[in-house]
């Protein structure tokens, strides 16, 4: 029997869609690629991934144009119904521009594209995405981005800290993100966005398998969502 369907939305300029599909299949999902102008997600979709890349050439602001794509209407409805949604890198930017997550991703403060393995510290392991991890655990997951400095005002950050909405922080200063924040979870706990790429860290041969912890948790959540809506 195949695993739960995880829909991966492809935008013009997405470039980690196939990597995400490969990595999700490796942890037991049935990945399905969904073109951005689709109005609906496949039946039986258990989770959604917005992959990395440069949707619409990053025109205007990263993720701004993709946030208005028809498929994003379906993703909003899916998220509102409690479906798990993971945004990676450009996917995180799209979720912020869609206002499904707080804050915004700004240009790296050092004005350089960063491409490196980074140590992430799990801030709050309560969310469905990090339940295979423990708070304080260190994960090695690569980053590769030019616009990864997450920013929100002090009140927003205080509210996030209060409710355990900060998922991951960089151990070192990677891009100038406020509070070193690398990933945040929405209030309902079913939408996570992060700049690092868990799909590039699912095999020790490639340096780390820590990303598999997040993706496997997503697949667990996808299976549960399919059962919950059946």
């Amino acid at each position: 029997m195949s695993g739960p369907v995880v829909a991966i939305v492809q935008f013009p300029g997405s470039n980690d869609d196939h990597d995400a599909a490969w990595a999700l299949a490796a942890v037991g999902a049935d990945p399905v690629l969904v073109w951005h102008d689709e109005q609906a997600l496949p039946d039986e979709t258990g989770a959604v991934v917005l992959p990395g890349g440069f949707s619409y050439g990053d025109y205007l602001r990263c993720g701004a144009i993709a946030s208005l794509a028809p498929a994003m209407g379906a993703v909003r409805r899916f998220a509102a119904a409690g479906g798990p949604v993971l945004g990676i890198c450009n996917g995180f930017q799209i979720l912020c521009e869609s206002r499904l997550l707080p804050g915004v991703l700004q240009q790296n403060h050092q004005l350089e594209f960063v491409c490196s393995d980074e140590v992430l510290v799990v801030d709050t392991a309560d969310s469905l995405f990090l339940r295979r991890c423990t708070s304080g655990q260190e994960l090695v997951i690569p980053v590769k981005h030019g616009d990864g400095a997450w920013y929100a005002d002090d009140a927003t950050i205080a509210a996030l800290e209060e409710r355990g909405g900060i998922a991951l922080r960089y151990r070192d200063d990677v891009n100038g993100a406020v509070g070193g924040i690398a990933g945040v979870v929405n209030e309902a706990g079913n939408v996570l966005g992060l700049m690092p790429h868990p799909e590039h860290a699912v095999d020790p041969l490639l340096g780390s398998a820590d990303g598999g912890l997040l993706l496997a948790a997503l697949v667990d959540a996808a299976a549960e969502h399919v059962l919950a809506v059946a």
């Binding site: 205007l60 701004a64 208005l68 915004v104 700004q106 050092q110 004005l111 920013y151 100038g176």
Partner: protein, 80 residues
């Protein structure tokens, strides 16, 4: 209808691009204390008079052209 939308980084928001441009101007010998880099968007569109045009522009800005978390907008409505 024509309009020009000026999108700027909000006061207090770090603008690394502006800082880099400022640094380069200083290297050229200019006594520059600050540079902020924004964006100009010229829009030609159909509207039912200036009030409708302003209302449409407000929606264009909030729905797409600027992110209110980090950017401020300045809209100038032109001639027909």
């Amino acid at each position: 209808m024509r309009a020009t939308v000026l999108v700027r980084p909000k006061d207090g928001i770090l603008d690394p691009q502006g800082e880099a441009v400022g640094g380069s101007l200083r290297k050229l010998g200019f006594d520059v204390s600050q540079v902020r880099v924004g964006r100009v968007i010229d829009v030609e569109f159909t509207a039912d008079g200036p009030d409708d045009a302003r209302a449409q522009l407000e929606r264009m800005c909030s729905d797409l052209l600027a992110n209110p978390l980090i950017e401020s907008v300045d809209v100038t409505l032109g001639e027909d």
